[in-house]
C-alpha cells in the first residue's frame, strides 16, 4: 500500500488529469490500471461504458456480445461505425477501444452469455457492468455476480427513460431481484424495436455506469448502492429512490432458494429451445441488440 504507484512515462501523460485530481491521484489511477471490468453488451449502453473505461485506463476490459453490427444500431451505439456494419460487435469494439487506448488489455468474448459460461466468464473480472438488452441476461448477470461476490453496475433504458444502480455483494445489500422480483411476462410490454429509443439516452445512462464502475474500483464517493437513479430525458430530471434488501429474496435473502444458475429463458417465460421472436424478445426490450 505504501509503495509509490509506478507508471510508464506515457501513462503519466495519458492519465495526467486523473493523477492530479484530488480523490483519484496516482493511487487511484494505479487501482484502475490494476483492475478488470467485464462489460456485458457492446450496444447502446456498452458503447459509452467501454469507451470511458478504456480511456480511464481500466487495465483489462472485457466485452461480451454475440451480435453483429447493424445499420439500425448506429443511431446510438457509438463504438461502431458505418464501415463496421456486418462485423461481429466485439471485433468492432476491440478495434475502436484499442485505437483509443493501446496501453490496456482489451478482450472480446464473441459469445452468448449463458448459465453454462457465466460463472467462468464473469469470474475472470473484478467488476461487471450490465449493458445487456434483455431480461434473461439481466437476471443471469445478477445471480452470477451475487454468487461470485462481485459488484454489478446496472443500467437499463427504454424510450426516454433510464435506470442505473449498483448491486454490491454482501449481507443485507439489495440485488436486482430485490428491486424487480419478476420480469414482465412475454407480450405484456411493447418492444423497443416497436417503441423506439432516444439515441442519446444510452449515452447518458452508460456514462453514469462508467462513473459508478470507476468509483467502485477507486473507492471514492458514494456509489448508487441501495439507490435507483431514474433519468427522464423528456423532463430532464433525475430522481433517486431507495432499493431495500429483501430478506425473502431467493438469491440474496436470509435463506436463498436459488444457489446455482437456472434456466433464465424459462424464468422469463420464453419456451425451452424457442428462439424469441422480435416481439417476444422485445418484451425484454431489444434496444442494444
Amino acid at each position: 500500500m505504501s509503495e509509490a504507484p509506478r507508471f510508464t512515462e506515457e501513462e503519466v501523460v495519458r492519465y495526467a488529469r486523473h493523477i492530479i485530481l484530488p480523490m483519484i491521484g496516482g493511487k487511484g489511477q494505479r487501482r484502475l490500471l490494476d483492475s478488470s471490468v467485464l462489460c456485458i453488451g457492446a450496444g447502446g449502453l456498452g458503447s459509452p461504458v467501454a469507451m470511458y473505461l478504456a480511456a480511464a485506463g481500466v487495465g483489462k476490459l472485457g466485452i461480451v456480445d454475440f451480435d453483429r453490427v447493424d445499420l439500425t444500431n448506429l443511431q446510438r451505439q457509438i463504438l461502431h461505425t458505418t464501415a463496421d456494419v456486418g462485423r461481429p460487435k466485439v471485433e468492432s469494439a476491440v478495434d475502436r477501444l484499442s485505437a483509443l487506448n493501446p496501453g490496456i488489455e482489451i478482450v472480446g468474448h464473441d459469445t452468448v452469455l449463458t448459465s453454462a459460461n457465466a460463472m467462468d466468464l464473469l469470474g475472470g473480472y473484478d467488476v461487471i457492468v450490465d449493458g445487456s438488452d434483455n431480461f434473461p441476461v439481466r437476471y443471469l448477470a445478477n445471480d452470477a455476480t451475487q454468487m461470485l461476490g462481485k459488484p454489478l453496475v446496472h443500467g437499463s433504458i427504454y424510450q426516454f427513460d433510464g435506470q442505473a444502480t449498483v448491486f454490491m455483494p454482501g449481507p443485507e445489500t439489495p440485488c436486482y431481484r430485490c428491486l424487480f422480483p419478476h420480469p414482465p411476462p412475454p407480450g405484456t410490454v411493447p418492444s423497443c424495436a416497436e417503441g423506439g429509443v432516444f439515441g442519446v439516452l444510452p449515452g447518458i445512462v452508460g456514462s453514469i455506469q462508467a462513473t459508478e464502475a470507476i468509483k467502485v474500483i477507486t473507492g471514492i464517493g458514494n456509489p448508487l448502492v441501495g439507490r435507483l437513479l431514474i433519468f427522464d430525458a423528456l423532463d430532464m430530471e433525475f430522481t433517486t429512490v431507495k432499493i431495500r434488501w429483501d430478506a425473502e429474496c431467493p438469491v440474496c435473502g436470509k435463506e436463498p432458494s436459488i444457489t446455482e444458475l437456472i434456466d433464465y429463458d424459462a424464468f422469463c417465460g420464453i419456451a425451452p429451445g424457442q428462439v424469441p421472436t422480435e416481439a417476444e424478445h422485445g418484451v425484454a426490450t431489444t434496444v442494444g441488440d
Binding site: 437499463s156 414482465p184 442494444g288
Partner: protein, 90 residues
C-alpha cells in the same frame, strides 16, 4: 391531491403527461383514480386480481410501497408517487 409521475412508456396511456395530479387516501385509491380517468393504465399496473404487477414498482417520496403496506399505504397531501416499471433495454 398528490402528483403521480408517469414513465415515458406509459405516457401515451395517461394523456401524454409526465406528471398527473390524482387524489386518494392510499396508493391504491390514487391508482384507482388514475385508472378511472385513463383506463388503459389498468393492465399495465395491476393484475387480474387488482394487485400491483410484480415488475412495476411504486415509490412514495422515494420509498418502495411494497415495503410499506403496498396499495394500502396511506398518502398525504402534496406527496409524489413515482411509477417505475422494469425495463431491460441497453
Amino acid at each position: 391531491m398528490v402528483t403521480v409521475r408517469i414513465p415515458s412508456a406509459l405516457r401515451p396511456a395517461a394523456g401524454g403527461e409526465g406528471r398527473v395530479p390524482a387524489s386518494g387516501g392510499t396508493v391504491g385509491d390514487v391508482l384507482d383514480d388514475l385508472i378511472a380517468r385513463f383506463p388503459g393504465l389498468r393492465g399495465r399496473l395491476l393484475d387480474d386480481e387488482g394487485r400491483l404487477r410484480r415488475f412495476v414498482n411504486v415509490f412514495v417520496d422515494g420509498e418502495d410501497v411494497r415495503h410499506e403496506g403496498g396499495l394500502a399505504r396511506p398518502v398525504g397531501e402534496g406527496q409524489e408517487i413515482s411509477i417505475v416499471p422494469s425495463v431491460a433495454g441497453g
